[in-house]
Symmetry: C2
Subunit: 137 residues, 2 copies
């Protein structure tokens, strides 16, 4: 058979077969070609796409968000300005997340340090991790 079977793509993307079919139903993955007997035939591209989906999911993106990310492509016949605008929005979003994670990381570093140095420093510095705007009462 030419093309990859669903079992192969699933395994190389680190997903369950059912999940791959589920993503197809949800429109995250295009419907693949079929063999005469009805087996799905995937190209290597599908693996990349599935890996992207898996990893984006691990980063906390919802399937809806991932769908949007995947829809961002330089396609002929698409307004370039539009694609660019949406990409910019995603960039801002990603930057926000990075900033928050960085705050959390610093809180964790502080916590680890508090543990090395002797003497109790703060009960639970984690709670200060993500404090930003949102005036405290």
């Amino acid at each position: 058979m030419d093309g990859l079977t669903i079992g192969r793509v699933a395994r190389s993307a680190g997903l369950a077969i059912d999940t791959v079919r589920y993503y197809e139903r949800e429109g995250l993955l295009q419907k693949p070609a079929r063999t005469p007997s009805g087996y799905r035939q995937y190209s290597a591209d599908a693996v990349a796409r599935l890996r992207f989906i898996r990893q984006a999911k691990e980063l906390g993106f919802t399937l809806a968000e991932i769908r949007e990310l995947l829809a961002l492509k330089v396609a002929p016949g698409k307004s370039c300005a539009d694609v660019r605008a949406r990409a910019q929005a995603k960039i801002a979003d990603v930057e926000q997340r990075i900033a928050q994670l960085d705050r959390m990381k610093r809180a964790l570093v502080k916590l680890a340090a508090a543990c090395s140095g002797r003497g109790p420093t703060s009960e639970c510095p984690i709670l200060e991790a993500l404090e930003t705007r949102e005036s405290r009462k």
Copy 2:
């Protein structure tokens, strides 16, 4: 009444009342004191804790992970080395996420740039975003 009512803490943390009770049931929030008539009474600390939970959730942490993060505190009678080890593990995890998001950000920037410059560059550069280890077949 001294202390905050559940409605107040919920509002200042940006959560629904039911969600606060749910977190209590799930052990993310300690059971608060009660008034004689059975109303929950919260201190301002509860608000900080709830905000932390909300924001960590937005970053894609599960409630189980958040529970672990909140459990990381310099408590008297706890092995310091243990807390430190767990904090280090979390730090590594957070750093990984940041690195992945950074890769995604760069892919988005590239995409936006491809759109500005004329000429089709790549069909969907997003897919290269998170490629790392995991040998391509």
